[in-house]
Symmetry: C2
Subunit: 478 residues, 2 copies
Amino acid sequence: MNDLLTTAFSPDGFRQQGHALIDLLANHLERAQSGEHNTLNYVPPADMLAHWQADFAQVTPADPIALWADMLRYSNHLHNPRFMGHQVSAPLPLAALTSVLTSILNNGQAVYEMGMTGNAQERIVTNWLCGKLGYGPESGGLLTSGGTLANLTALLTARAVAGGSDVWLDGTTNRLAIMVSEEAHYCVDRAARIMGLGTEGIIKIPTNDRFQMRTELLETALDAALNNGLTVFAVIGSACSTSTGSYDNLTEIANFCERHSLWFHVDGAHGGVAALSNTYRPLVRGIERADSVVVDFHKMMMIPALVTGVFYRRDDDAFRTFQQKAQYLWADASAKDWFNSGKRAFECTKIMLSAKVYTVLRTYGEAIFVQHVEQLYDLARAFAQHVREQPGFELAVEPESNIVCFRYVGNETDPAQLNALNNAIRERILTDGRFYIVQTNLRGHVWLRVSIMNSLTTLEHLTEMLVMVRECAEDMAV
Amino acid sequence: MNDLLTTAFSPDGFRQQGHALIDLLANHLERAQSGEHNTLNYVPPADMLAHWQADFAQVTPADPIALWADMLRYSNHLHNPRFMGHQVSAPLPLAALTSVLTSILNNGQAVYEMGMTGNAQERIVTNWLCGKLGYGPESGGLLTSGGTLANLTALLTARAVAGGSDVWLDGTTNRLAIMVSEEAHYCVDRAARIMGLGTEGIIKIPTNDRFQMRTELLETALDAALNNGLTVFAVIGSACSTSTGSYDNLTEIANFCERHSLWFHVDGAHGGVAALSNTYRPLVRGIERADSVVVDFHKMMMIPALVTGVFYRRDDDAFRTFQQKAQYLWADASAKDWFNSGKRAFECTKIMLSAKVYTVLRTYGEAIFVQHVEQLYDLARAFAQHVREQPGFELAVEPESNIVCFRYVGNETDPAQLNALNNAIRERILTDGRFYIVQTNLRGHVWLRVSIMNSLTTLEHLTEMLVMVRECAEDMAV
């Protein structure tokens, strides 16, 4: 081995760089959590690219500690309590630390012998959550790399079980379709189009004034689809939807699916976690009747991305998703063995996704998840109440989860002006950097949107943000 | 915030646990690299599950350091030079450390403003590799979560550009097909079946005695497909194949694709890295003419999984893969902006995949990749020479990469007996634990298989492994 490789693999080098990195990150956490600094230091794309291009062009090697510090500087600081933007967690430090363990090990676990611990822990973690969802002993699950992939995986299982033909072997022979709320996450649409369903095969069910699927329209929509020659094989419920955090009525969808022998899938990437809380469990009533459920551990369970679970009411269904042999991997490709996870999961190199969840569960217990979700959901309700009390503001809808959509209206009544005003407010807040909020578009109207993802965020931070929104608006009106 | 959450988010707790973890892992690296311990301590699936179930059932919270040590014990030790099993790297310690930085940050980068550094560094890293592949200034790439997803992404682009109809909008309206070597990785088959092509739509081209696609059969196969009413839209070359590490003749496939206006995709997950080496570059001659190429950074570039690049000869093609709007993400969904990577990549929560590659490149330069691949490819050739010189052994094929398939034959001539013998040898080596090798099945014959993935592995380790194979065989023959 030559000198460069010897140096790079030196355990002592790892030890020194590792300790320096831990200190850098501990200091970063302190600073971010203090909330005194910005949530982000916005730089436009071209300038950011130029910054890193200049760095990349340097002839002298980087000191990794200085490089990492620079990367921190131009990243978003989710541990800052004023970060209330996208639905990604401010991850638990313990879970983030576990990343370095799994990265050093780099055990793929598609095959049992390459990932003994990973496969066993995955079984335990998924069985635990199956129980929380209300599933019985025949249930089971697997972990995969993100919510989009998890929803695709579940829809592939649905196609195999309820699609009316064996598409895996015979290819697409009939016009397949799914039914889903118009407010569902775009990845459901994406999964269906990957499978070749096209626009016609994605039957969008309108939502009510609370942005929930109007389940009373399902029968008519199904009749129309059948008359049109489509084979509907699945209905997808959102728990919750992305833009507004609204929960579909899962019981009604379950009834409908049972009546028509359709696969019932729940995209619970964000809000499936409500099943863990006695207080918020009613939001997902009926989830235990779903054939499959997706839950992101990297959203409401404070695990760094990507770790998503796909859960099946009947574990055996999971073996129908992908039916393949790979001589160099499995001696018997048809055996339904829980411990070769590549048979049921999409990835061939499947990393130790369970390790972070297992470590957190064993160190803090499930109570940490329960307290987190209850605190965030409670806080969203309190913030909504506060918004309602402020003159010049309005709420899009009463929040059901920790997502709140609101806007500044002032005395303005023209819809186009209101949209422009709220877009401008959002832009100003982004470039200011103290707060991070996002926006969404609901039925043509622009709304400001917060996802409260951080346990450190309090009502004071939220009201402070609202003051800043008002100041931006009044400043621009002058 | 209640006490449990306060404790869990304490920067001081992170600092203490982090330093302890770094020491645990540094000690682990020392021990693994010394090669004195086992590569794995094999435990059967049911026993491993029972072990972790007993741990999970404990009432007292875990000490995470003790828990992590236990997880190390029952994992595979890829940094042990006697580990020569699956195609996953013994990752660079610096790259593994970067994982904790990206995990703490947890910046999704589908949207520019959530991942400024990640998007800019991804652009730089992918442009760098585009140049190495021989692509021109119109090229571009993106990073995604693994080779299976990368191949699926490229085939979706191929379908959109060369599929003859807009499947994304109109659904599957014609019988689509791809052409690929029978020795290609199973994920290409998987991707095609996800898209609804079925068995008929995956035209397997036989291989020659070096397990390379017989490109002279492509014309006939295409004629037969067209006569059968299929629309062939892509040909996939393997660089290299999984079982034997053989490189398809990419120039011949490029010529064929150009003649028939088909999309030319190269699965270079393992061996695309040869493009970095002056010595081994001839193996991938013609790759610069591919419309898309996939390269895993977690195979031959020592980055922890998953980090895979999809590279396009024309960057604009990437924007045709997924055509969607998501109001809460992008103001203008149709703009071809490099900096909102969720428009071109599968994932919505797309983590900072580029950070590890960028850190390694800036600290060690690309020389570290070049030296690594050349050392491993050289070593495989030396090992093959050694196998040829040993009585009682035979090689499946002269190795082109760092993958070598061989078997013990002794005086046995019966094919079934030889298969049983080599299976038994492999099983015994696995449970012994000093070495880790795998096996594969080529045209009905069982072969032992090594992928030399670790810079610390030397010819001495490989010859020592061969001695053990002989001892196992002779022991069983008694």
